[in-house]
Amino acid sequence: MKHEEVNYFKRFKRWKMIIIFLIFALAFAISLSVAVGQMQISLSNTWEIIIKNIPFLGDFVNNGFSKTEEVIIMSVRLPRAIAAVIVGAALAVAGVVLQGLFRNPMADPYLLGISSGAALGAAVAIGFGIRISLAGIFDSIQLMAFAGALITVFAVYNIAKKGPKVPMLTVLLAGIAVTSFLSAMISVIMITLGESLHSLIFWLFGTLNGIKWSDVMVSLPLVMIGLFVIMIFSRQLNIMLLGEDEAQRLGVDTERLKKIMLIFATLITATVVSISGIIGFIGLVVPHITRNLVGPDHRILMPASALAGAIIVVLCDMMARIAIQPAEAPVGVLTAFFGAPFFLYLLRKKKGMGV
């Protein structure tokens, strides 16, 4: 009978291997993305540039590359790739959280009105030409989008709250209603926009064009903290899948868990939406793809989804840059374009969404 016992604990080792594999895959994707672009930079130059910019190691490399190449790698491609990692990880994990909390495989991170709240914030900023910047780092679109997202979720949460309890079904319905209302307001603004309409639409589709290091510096800690906190509660989220009543009876503080999960999922989603616009599909589909491959236990599902989401967005962003040169394709279009067929393929192969 020892056989089954050993089997069970093997899973922890298996999980470690999966994570390590995914980390390597991500590193590879990042390298690929950084090496590829409109300007042809040789692979060796790429590596030299990166190494040179790592403190201490930098001195061991000779300068066979031009300043322009260095600037492109370090100031354009690298921050974009890292931003892509942040965005992909945040959206994927937020998707996992919302699918777990709502026990609904159709849930995605924008369910609570984050997307329409952020879009409204951005539309107002673009439409009324608001130009404020905070400490010279954030720009108005980012700030307004972030604020819009948070205010919306806060409103939805409070509408749904009943005394000390927050019934998830009510949250869902409130989110849908608020989203519709905000979308209507956005349409009104769009009607009044002239040339800036183009820009709002581009933003709505999601793009990593124009990402600066400052964007990365700000979003990275926020998202990392959020991911960290969320992943701590992975095992409890497993139990939440049984339903709130049953989870409570098994000793889970469901109200506290819901609050924490919602707050941090909202935080990381609002953060990435404010720097990249609304990139769809990742939050909805990556959790399913990962669940299909590694199982439903959130202790592996969360980190695996984060890494898988990161890899996918990095690769899609790479394609956004080179697909229709010299123009940029919005990354959100690409995530849907490549993600959807792959997901359908998985569905057919495995006959089900692990649901």
Partner: protein, 428 residues
Amino acid sequence: MVRLKINGIDCFYGSIKVLENIAFSVEGGEIVGILGPNGSGKTTLLKSISRILKPKVGTVLLDDVDIYVMKAIDLAKNLAVVPQDTNVTFDFTALDLVLMGRNPYIGLLERETEKDLAIAKKAMELTNIWHLVDRKVSELSGGERQRVVIARALAQEPRVLLLDEPTSHLDINYQIEIMDLLKELCKERKLIILAVFHDFNLAARYCDSAILLNEGRIVFIGPIDTVLTDENIEKVFHINAIVKRHPITNSLYVVPLCTSELKSVQPRALKVHMISGGGTGASLMRILLEHGYKISAGVLNVLDTDYEVACTLGIPVVSDAPFSSITEEAHKANLNKIVNANVVILSDAPFGRGNLKNLGAAMMALEKGITTIVVEEKPIQERDFTGGYAQASYMELRRRGAIFVESYDQILPILEELEDKQEIVRKV
């Protein structure tokens, strides 16, 4: 010893009162059944004890500590719930699910240990599902899933176990197995087991005591045989039922009678006495009763099926001991009954020396002028174990004017005709 005390609680759904002034106390080592019709508040009571629905009035005390003051996790170490069903929408295995029962003992940043696995395994072995360890719960049958949930509850190592219809999806063999297991664990570990039952017989067999709920209130509470009585069942469920003690298992069992027909029928004036035996009178007794006729029966020996049916139906019976001839006493009592009846029916029972006197009783009836119907679906020749005496009696009965019918169906019309005639000439 663990003690659960419910102190006069009132529970509300919104503004609707669902439970009123529920108060009782249970100690470890007892299986308590919660019985009652749908909507009486059984599930609500479980919810209030498992911290899902807080009572607006009153407290629930586990070992003198208010469970609503405790931390959820502390309660989970002491109290486990087996709900009616569980829905898992994601691909967890049976083992995963049972291990979730160990959650109260695993810290936020910790993971399952070998000890947890061992306890889960033990629980699964007890419920006979260890062979399903790697199977996805969504692929299991209803019964297997239910046993997984029971195993999960056991893995919590609770001292109080709440069950909401724990065996409703199980095959009969598993029903018995699980209930036997629960009973054993209850006694061994001195657990408190509170279970909602819809099946009286199961409750009767396994519960030490029971709480009978109706419309949110406790109607009766006490040892199981004081709760499960004909009157209580009639009062709460509005059906006629008989509660008997089973001869083999010695546990109570409940036999519901078809109430609807009995109730809606007008009682008729005719009194019928049945002379039968060997199971030949059983269905007729029931049919006549359903049509509103008052019946008596005799002489039947106590091992005869007809006797048991008569008792079950509440028909006054003249009985006698088995394996001997009808005594003079019994015969006289029988005749008494006959004299008070308007009609006598003789079914096509087998006749031997032991029940010859019954034939004599039929003849007496005719002498007194009481209408006698003789049913001969099976010819007397095939039922005569008296060496021809029975056949002779039959011929005599015919001569004296007994109505012979070839099937039981013909009886009812005859009775109705008689009734119409009797309208004019009433016999008290």
